[in-house]
């Protein structure tokens, strides 16, 4: 595969290395939709990582634009307020020369009671080949995928999944992890409101597939049910360890990566937490607490941050923080995903050569 930039230079796109003794055929991306990572294999995740490397090369050029998706209609359909994910997808799609339409669903006919299925059919009739969708209800993109002839890329659904975020998290970890990109046995801690977090759920699939020693940590009310997941996955061969605990000290001890999750104010009214102050005192990520982690620990946050609650301001800007790298890598990962999905659906302008 290759991409051709406007200046005429080609960029080689990677293929996963052929298996030893194999025929040398390249692994192709076969999923028409990207709804979650549970059905994505590790070799496919590696293909995303390598394609992202190529997209970063594109982004490093003076004109960061390639014609790969010229003539492809990408509709960004967001039912929830979002800045960074929506803009990240929009920039990614435009860098690939797609025709981008933005729909903030709260202000469209959805407010008049149009059903999701009707909206999807309408968007398709208006020429969309791909829909990047965010929805407040878990599972909504699966319904959309059933009624759409093109590709659905899940930009976050309810508490369920946020696959592009998990992939950009993985890319960022692999890029910055001292000692190299192999996560086998490396301790990754996801800290905070795990219960309501689609980021945490998608990260469980990708990080355990990467072989990481995954820890989910937070107050007991915000971890409910995850011990069952850890127990169920403990039996799966080839996956990393998966531990769920409310013991922050145990979680942070010798951690290689710590990712803090956003705590939302409405969790107080539901009685899940006594107060933000108490949360910050017991579970807030401070420099002092990070002393228990490895000295070169990576600090992450999917954003937007409540500084002073789940993460201390000085932690967010610590030299070990890769929070802004997550944002930058988000564009490259999303370019890679749009490119791969379009290839699987046959929307590429040109894909041969390479």
């Amino acid at each position: 595969m290759s991409l051709v930039a406007p200046d005429g230079t080609g960029i080689d796109l990677p293929a996963v290395a052929p298996s030893p003794g194999g025929s040398g055929t390249q692994l192709r991306w076969s999923h028409r939709h990207l709804l979650d990572l549970d059905v994505v294999t590790w070799p496919e995740i590696e293909l995303v990582m390598r394609t992202t490397d190529a997209m970063r090369e594109v982004l490093a050029r003076p004109i960061a634009k390639v014609p790969a998706l010229r003539g492809t209609g990408v509709t960004i359909l967001f039912y929830e307020a979002s800045t960074r994910t929506r803009v990240s997808f929009e920039v990614a799609a435009k860098n690939l020369s797609a025709d981008v339409v933005n729909i903030a669903a709260a202000s469209s006919s959805v407010a008049k009671g149009e059903s999701l299925v009707d909206t999807i059919r309408t968007v398709e009739a208006l020429g969309a080949d791909m829909i990047v969708m965010r929805h407040g209800t878990s599972g909504a993109p699966y319904l959309a995928a059933e009624h759409f002839g093109g590709s659905i890329l899940n930009g976050g659904d309810g508490w369920h999944a946020h696959p592009s975020q998990a992939l950009l998290d993985l890319y960022t970890i692999r890029e910055h992890l001292p000692g190299g990109p192999d996560l086998h046995g490396r301790k990754v801690v996801i800290l905070g409101d795990v219960l309501h977090s689609r980021v945490a759920r998608s990260n469980v699939w990708s990080l355990t597939a990467a072989g990481a020693d995954l820890w989910l940590c937070g107050p007991a009310t915000l971890l409910r049910g995850f011990d069952r997941w850890a127990a169920a996955m403990g039996a799966a061969p080839g996956h990393g360890r998966f531990t769920v605990t409310a013991d922050l000290d145990a979680a942070l001890r010798d951690a290689d990566v710590v990712m803090a999750l956003r705590i939302q104010r409405e969790r107080m009214s539901g009685g899940l937490l006594p107060s933000l102050r108490e949360y910050a005192a017991r579970f807030g990520l401070t420099l002092e607490r990070l002393g228990a982690a490895r000295p070169d620990v990576l600090i992450m946050h999917p954003g937007p941050m409540n500084e002073g609650v789940e993460i201390a301001p000085e932690v967010a800007i610590d030299p070990r923080s890769v929070i802004t790298d997550q944002v930058t890598n988000g564009v490259a990962v999303r370019m890679a995903l749009l490119y791969l999905l379009a290839g699987a659906a046959g929307h590429h302008r040109e894909t041969s050569g390479g």
């Binding site: 059903s115 878990s138 909504a140 319904l143 409910r224 049910g225 799966a236």
Partner: protein
């Protein structure tokens, strides 16, 4: 074998069934036999033995008393696009049911006699011979604030009272309703649910809800309501010994254990479970399609469908959204045990038809309910086929079980194969399965997760009160 010259609703003039497998739970007997129906009357029942019985087993055509459903939603008045009394009765007959109790959560609710009269008139107009019994609401408008017109509804023939669709929210109203209905000789049927614990809930709390990011629906929301209801019943009985409580669609191991103990203590409480809570589990939400008993390992532990390759369909199918939610394989196993030991008196369908508009939406926004009166027998027979339930107990839980519950509420009907009585029976064939297809369902509600699946026990013929209710086409 086919009834000569009969049309739907007409008296079955002449029907002979030879060398079938008869099941009569009323006398605890099953075996090879012949029956003859003349002019709507069961003229002869002959139990075969010896050489005559040779080659007949329970895997072919079965003759059983007509099935009884304690819990169905026929949506009329108010939601006729989802179901009408006429289409509901046709669906019941296709499912082998000859007596059905319709719930009161219509619009307007059946909280005064005039609405009840409308429903009974619709049943009359339908021409169906299926017997329709109707619940009145417990509270006015089913709001749980003041009592509905209980006396008037009772005089008008209400079989009992229920706010189903929702629990009797106020414990005080439940207390008064149990006493007042007891005075009238009527039962209160409660849908046990503690709404504070189920606010916004989407799926049974557990592994599946956790992984799918659905808000958990704790089993304690049901068990705590069952505990409340039993405590109130105990106290009301001291003043009103005739007070009666029936708990419908119990779905958890904990609730059934509470009822088991209450029955052992002599409380006048009965309960039912649904076919879907017996045989389907929350892992269907993730895309598994195996029966509940197939989701347990040899040691009786629940298996993870993610670990053993059981996910064969897409996740978040809104036809699976139901209240109470589909539970774990362990809860389903507890339901089966309760059915076998008699803690569960009956299988009731909770037939809940919905329109596409209300169902073909995001999982968490979909209306609760499964259209189930036509698949109930098939699901229960799947448990029989799997060796989890004796055929005789399955039929009992669909006939004399609910019939006995209804007798306690003053119903004068019967379910037995006795010569000289009006024929009320179902014939089904266990030798060949049938495929559940939308076009083949008489109900307007096509909202079943079983579409496309083969079920055992094809219903050939349903006779209600001596009249033809359903006959397999062709």
């Amino acid at each position: 074998m086919a009834p000569e010259g009969a049309r739907l609703g007409g008296v079955v003039a002449d029907l002979e069934v030879s060398r079938a497998w008869l099941v009569d739970p009323a006398i605890g007997r099953e075996g090879p036999g012949d029956i003859v129906v003349e002019d709507g009357v069961l003229r002869s029942v002959v139990w075969l033995d010896g050489a005559e019985a040779e080659g007949i087993d329970d895997r072919g055509v079965v003759v059983a008393p007509g099935l009884v459903d304690l819990h169905a939603h026929f949506r009329e008045p108010g939601f006729e696009d989802a179901e009408t009394v006429a289409t509901g009765m046709a669906a019941a007959a296709h499912g082998g049911f000859t007596t059905v109790c319709a719930m009161a959560n219509t619009s307007p609710a059946i909280d005064e006699a005039s609405v009840l009269v409308r429903v009974r008139e619709a049943a009359e107009r339908s021409g169906s011979p299926v017997e329709l019994l109707v619940y009145g609401a417990v509270s006015a408008g089913r709001k749980g604030e003041t009592l509905a017109a209980l006396g008037e509804l009772s005089d008008g023939g209400a079989i009992g009272f229920s706010d189903d669709g929702a629990p009797v929210r106020s414990a005080a109203i439940l207390r008064h309703a149990l006493a007042y209905a007891g005075m009238l000789g009527r039962v209160i049927v409660d849908h046990p649910e503690e709404p504070i614990l189920t606010d916004g809930a989407e799926a049974n709390e557990g592994l599946v809800a956790t992984i799918l990011g659905l808000k958990g629906w704790p089993t304690a929301a049901e068990a705590s309501a069952v505990g409340r209801d039993l405590a109130i019943l105990t106290e009301v009985l001291a003043d009103v010994p005739a007070a009666r409580l029936h708990l419908t669609h119990l779905s958890t191991a904990a609730s059934l254990e509470l009822v088991r103990r209450a029955k052992a203590a002599g409380l006048p409480v009965t309960c039912d479970i649904t076919p879907h809570h017996l045989a389907l589990t929350d892992e269907w939400l993730a895309g598994a399609r195996r029966w509940a008993w197939e989701a347990l390992d040899e040691d009786g532990r629940a298996r993870s469908p993610w670990a053993d390759g059981a996910l064969v369909a897409g996740p978040f199918d809104p036809t699976l959204r139901v209240n109470p939610p589909l539970r774990s394989a362990l809860d389903a196993a507890a339901l089966l045990a309760a059915l076998v030991d008699g803690t569960a008196d009956a299988i009731a369908t909770d037939h809940a038809p919905h329109t596409r508009v209300d169902k073909e939406v995001e999982f968490g926004l979909a209306a609760n309910g499964i259209s189930g009166i036509e698949t109930a027998l098939g699901i229960v027979l799947a448990a029989v086929d799997a060796g989890r339930l004796p055929l005789s107990r399955a039929i009992e839980a669909l006939t004399t079980g609910p019939g006995g519950v209804l007798h306690g509420w003053g119903w004068g009907g019967s379910r037995r194969l006795v010569e000289g009585e009006a024929a009320d029976l179902v014939l089904f064939d266990r030798s060949t399965p049938w495929r559940v297809e939308a076009a083949g369902l008489a109900s307007r509600g096509k909202n079943t997760p079983l579409l496309g699946r083969d079920l055992p026990g094809r219903v050939l013929l349903t006779v209600a009160g001596g009249r033809l209710a359903y006959e397999e086409p062709g």
